[in-house]
């Protein structure tokens, strides 16, 4: 082995990265060559100096900044990225989707008079009127079935608004399944899950006509429905300042020996559940009238000793 051949392998010798066929002759050469042995020593010390370099540490807060940058975008942004198509494709698709949603909503409302009534009572919208032209149905049968099924829903209206809406939603879901006008939720086996999914499915169906389908609004309405179902009295209180009204109610409850059972606030309504002593009931209705426009949905003739009230406070 020549000195040049030996020196080209000295680094690998230090790193024990040579096979026995290379290492043997190299070690034999180094043992006999003073210059190569000296070279190997210098190289060994150079590597030792390199190994002595203090490690670098990432700046403080670096990991947090990386984690913040990697935090997943909201689902609609990810969807937007996934669907990033050229405008020439996107615009017609968007137009078609909008048209389809409009037709589906109009079709659903046409088939369900109860939903139309609910939409008018809660928040009238120019998009939903009696004069709206019904869209063509895929077959005649679903429309007839819808009319037939609306009767039980009408009968049950007397039993409370919350129950009404849940039943209407169930009917609406069933009708939609038949008409194939919109995707239906997967069937659930447990009865309570079924009711929940029916209410959940009905809310988005009504939303586009009234408020542009805000998920939090739908959630708050579902919460209101559940609360109203358990209450003796339920209704809407339309006020100019939701927070002020809530404070007024809290003070009233404290003054009359009532109690606040639950409270939840959504984008469109705050739902407060209270118990009021029957003795203070007439004073409570005056208080409600003072706070805003009170529209009871349910108020039995006979009140229990502690009246459970579910209020949906809307600005």
């Amino acid at each position: 082995m020549t000195c040049d051949e030996a020196r080209a392998r000295l680094s690998a010798l230090l790193d024990e990265a040579l096979g026995p066929d290379e290492r043997g002759p190299l070690e034999a050469h180094v043992a006999t060559c003073v210059d190569c042995r000296r070279e190997l020593g210098l190289l060994r010390n150079t590597v030792a100096l390199l190994h002595s370099v203090n490690p670098v540490r990432a700046p403080a807060g670096f990991a947090d900044r990386v984690l913040a940058a990697a935090r997943p975008a909201p689902w609609y942004r990810r969807l937007q990225r996934a669907l990033s198509l050229p405008w020439s494709v996107k615009l017609p698709l968007a137009a078609a989707a909008a048209l389809l949603v409009g037709v589906a909503v109009a079709h659903l409302l046409e088939m369900a008079p109860e939903l139309q009534r609910a939409a008018r009572v809660e928040s009238p919208s120019p998009a939903v009127t009696d004069s709206q032209e019904p869209p063509a149905t895929p077959t005649g049968a679903p429309g007839q079935k819808a009319k037939a099924e609306s009767e039980p829903a009408t009968r049950e209206r007397r039993e409370g608004r919350a129950r009404d809406l849940a039943d209407e939603a169930t009917d609406a879901t069933r009708r939609r399944d038949l008409a194939k006008a919109a995707p239906a939720p997967a069937p659930a086996t447990a009865p309570e899950r079924k009711a929940e999914s029916a209410v959940g499915a009905a809310a988005p169906a009504r939303e586009p006509a009234r408020e542009g389908a805000r998920p939090d609004a739908a959630a708050s309405r579902r919460s209101a429905l559940r609360t109203a179902a358990a209450a003796d009295v339920s209704g809407r209180l339309v006020v100019t300042d939701r927070e002020a009204a809530a404070r007024g109610l809290t003070e009233f409850v404290a003054r009359t020996g009532g109690a606040e059972v639950a409270r939840s606030a959504g984008a469109d309504a705050m739902v407060i559940e209270l118990t009021i002593p029957r003795a203070a009931w007439s004073e409570f209705t005056r208080e409600l009238a003072a706070l805003g426009a009170w529209t009871p949905d349910r108020e039995p003739a006979e009140l229990p000793a502690q009246v459970r009230v579910a209020l949906r406070i809307i600005e």
Binding site: V47, R57, P59
Partner: protein, 185 residues
Amino acid sequence: MDRRTSDDSHLVDRLRRGDARAFDELVTAYQHRVFSVALRMLRNRTEAEEVAQEVFLRVYRTVTAFRGDAKLSTWLYAIASRLCLNRLASSDRRVTREGDEALTRLASGDATPVDELERSELEATLHRAIAELPEERRIVVVLRDLEGLSYEEIAAALDLELGTVRSRLHRARMDLKEKLERFLP
């Protein structure tokens, strides 16, 4: 399979499943090593942080495509090396390189003032010597002598033949030996 490789393999599985804590653990475990490579190569802290962050974001986005036939650390070093070399090759790179003193300040110990002075002189010379190496030799010596990768890992990370890794490393060390001669016993 050693413990670290086994842990890394488990970490990769969790990353693939979208486990948010797994990514947190990955960044915590590898942030210093990835940043170190970026700083040694780019010699600018801001730029090094940008590149190191991009390394982790790429891992986050592409972990499902990671085949797992290389170690997780090798994959991270591969991404870091490629991003650094690309940036160095970029014609519109206009960042200011920080002085070697600034790089020396990165490392601080508990040495006495005299030791510190000698140490800082040595460190400054070392950093300057490493920084002056051609990029393709510098990345090999950084991965081998500062980060402790094996020849095989370097070959995998840089997509080079083993013989090329060996010769580049040897040339890099010979360059450094000349520049560090006065510190050698």
